[in-house]
Symmetry: C2
């Protein structure tokens, strides 16, 4: 039995992680979990999965749920996230919480020797140098949950990292892949939320449409696999069947494929290095799919991807700024305060106005994160 700590239980990755736990009741058990503000869903999950420790965002919610579930321990707030992350019984942390709040629990779990299944983008984007140093020092497995990084990780099994020539991330192109920049002028929030291949949360769906999601993935891939940015390519692949690839120096390309289903990479992270059956997954039938399409990525069409490469290559606190500016800009777009293309403008403006700090400490990253959010909000 593998005991799991799950941060972000009610989100898209969180609920699908619970599906996997449910699918394999003799293999996995939910030991500890965190929930944001969705008390109703928290109640259902607690009743079904019987975790021993639950962290709520708000103290009030923790206290009221405690009355309903007196045998279960409750905690709350950012410190509570770390309590869940290092919960003694758990051997693996699935970090599916959104935002920079996910960073510190990951670091605590690494120091506590837990295996990390990482879905929280900010962990590597803002503090890749700190996280990877901690991973190496504590020799804990860092397992990707994102479909692209999982594909690369699966393709890397049985191989030597030194033989990698190139990582090739595939990008569906998001909701607006067939539109020109001119056609993006007046797109609505509803248009943007209509992703062709993946059913995901609002923030990540917008990030797919701006291609910032791929940009953040490039930065994550850089840290997770230790590959320089020059050797990370992105190719448009609208079917999202090939989830990503590695090109080795003998020219051989290893790829992982499948019908888009986040439960596959989630389960792989939980079962690694083994696999377990996933009977409810829709099997890939390439003859039925018929065609797979690929096209070059246009960095002028998808400016956020260019910003991400530039911020990643420059390093320091620029990726933190990129990420924080993007979060606030996407939030503003979702609230109807700015247009779709203004997301890019806000990010560009913010990156340009930032004085990067090299090799930032955790405190410096946090401060830059807070300052960036203030700055972008001041522009709205």
């Amino acid at each position: 039995m593998k005991y799991i700590s799950l941060l972000g239980s009610t989100g898209s990755i969180g609920t699908q992680t619970l599906d996997i736990i449910k699918e394999h009741p003799t293999e996995f058990s939910l030991a500890a979990m965190s929930v944001g503000r969705n008390v109703n869903l928290a109640r259902q999950i607690i009743a079904e999965f019987h975790p021993e420790l639950v962290c709520m965002l708000e103290k009030d919610d923790a206290e009221s749920l405690k009355l309903e579930f007196p045998k279960i321990s409750f905690t709350y707030g950012p410190e509570g996230l770390s309590e869940v992350a290092v919960y003694k019984k758990s051997t693996i942390l699935v970090n599916a919480v959104m935002g920079s709040v996910g960073l510190e629990p990951t670091l605590h779990a690494i120091e506590a020797g837990k295996t990390i299944a990482l879905a929280n983008k900010e962990t590597l984007v803002t503090a890749g140098h700190i996280v990877m140093e901690a991973v190496r020092r504590n020799q804990v497995p860092l397992l990707p949950v994102d479909s692209e990084h999982s594909a690369i990780f699966q393709a890397l099994q049985g191989e030597y990292e030194k033989n990698i020539d190139k990582l090739i991330l595939t990008a569906s192109g998001g909701s607006f892949r067939d539109r020109t920049r001119n056609e993006l002028e007046n797109v609505t929030v509803q248009d943007a939320l209509n992703h062709p291949n993946w059913s995901m949360g609002a923030k990540i769906t917008i990030d797919s449409a701006t291609m910032m999601n791929k940009g953040l993935e490039v930065i994550e891939a850089h840290w997770m696999f230790g590959v320089p940015y020059e050797n990370i390519d992105v190719v448009l692949h609208k079917e999202s069947i090939i989830h990503s690839m590695i090109e080795f120096h003998d020219s051989s390309v290893m790829a992982q494929l499948g019908t888009p289903d986040m439960r596959v990479p989630i389960q792989y992270a939980l079962t690694f290095p083994n696999r377990l059956p996933l009977k409810t997954a829709q099997r890939l039938n390439l003859a039925k799919v018929g065609q797979l399409h690929f096209a070059e990525m246009d960095m002028e069409r998808f400016r956020c991807l260019k910003f991400a490469y530039e911020a990643g290559m420059a390093g320091g606190t620029l990726p933190t700024v990129l990420n924080a500016a993007n979060e606030i800009a996407v939030e503003a777009f979702l609230k109807g305060k700015i247009t779709f293309l203004q997301i890019e403008d806000l990010i560009e403006n913010t990156l340009t106005n930032h004085q990067s700090i090299m090799e930032p400490s955790l405190a410096e990253i946090k401060a830059v994160d807070v300052d960036t959010r203030k700055y972008v909000n001041s522009l709205l």
Copy 2:
């Protein structure tokens, strides 16, 4: 330094193996080799690669070359092939000889503890049960050279065989993939030899056009990876970019891709489990390729594939009959004695008329091979 015994040095796989040895002179050395009747090419190879032992098909050729290269040992005939295969200095046998003559040298090399890089189809098709038992008993690595089996083998690294749900072999469709059966009535030898993706020998190019090549590969894959025929699929993929795939029981599909180039799987067999750079290989650029196509395999259109599945599933000496009948039929087609579609008819007739022997011994396999050739020749 890895010392190599190479059977079939002047063929398509043989010369490309020599290219790889030449590309990595500090890694590989040709210790022993065999040549059929191509004395001129043998002379060039000997002068360039300085093998210590050379086997010629004919005694006369061996004797005349001995006069030119007095420091080199020469041998000849089928026994000579086995001498090359077990040559003391060699740690790996690359068996790229064509036909059933390749079987015994493989078995001798396995008993001598050599690593086997297998390009000779007959070894597994006719005697899979004997060969795999010897491989297990002697615990030698059996490495595929065929691009499809190499793709599967590469996809299997870091995985457990027990987690395999399905092998998916890709098939280009060969020279006639876009023709109906009616359009095959009067095709010429020249038409058939014009393969769209791969530059190979005449026999294998015809086998691609009839789909017998894929059929033999299915039987090989069955033995090499221990997967039942029901779990081996063939999908048409005209670009030959995805070289084959494994579907695991979590629905994840691992694939190996590349621009068609036999040197890649040959080199992988020589470097396994490592890889070495192959600078002259053309890199895969999927954006440039643009599209990959897949279609279901039609067993009525490609009857040889159906024969192969049936012979493989029935087992015993039927795969030997399939292979021998095919060899004689293809030879007859290449000589203009029969039409393209008569290849299928001859094979079907021969399979129907054979009384299969289950779990045949090596002697029985040999006898059936000889008898089948006589029988098919009697029909011409």
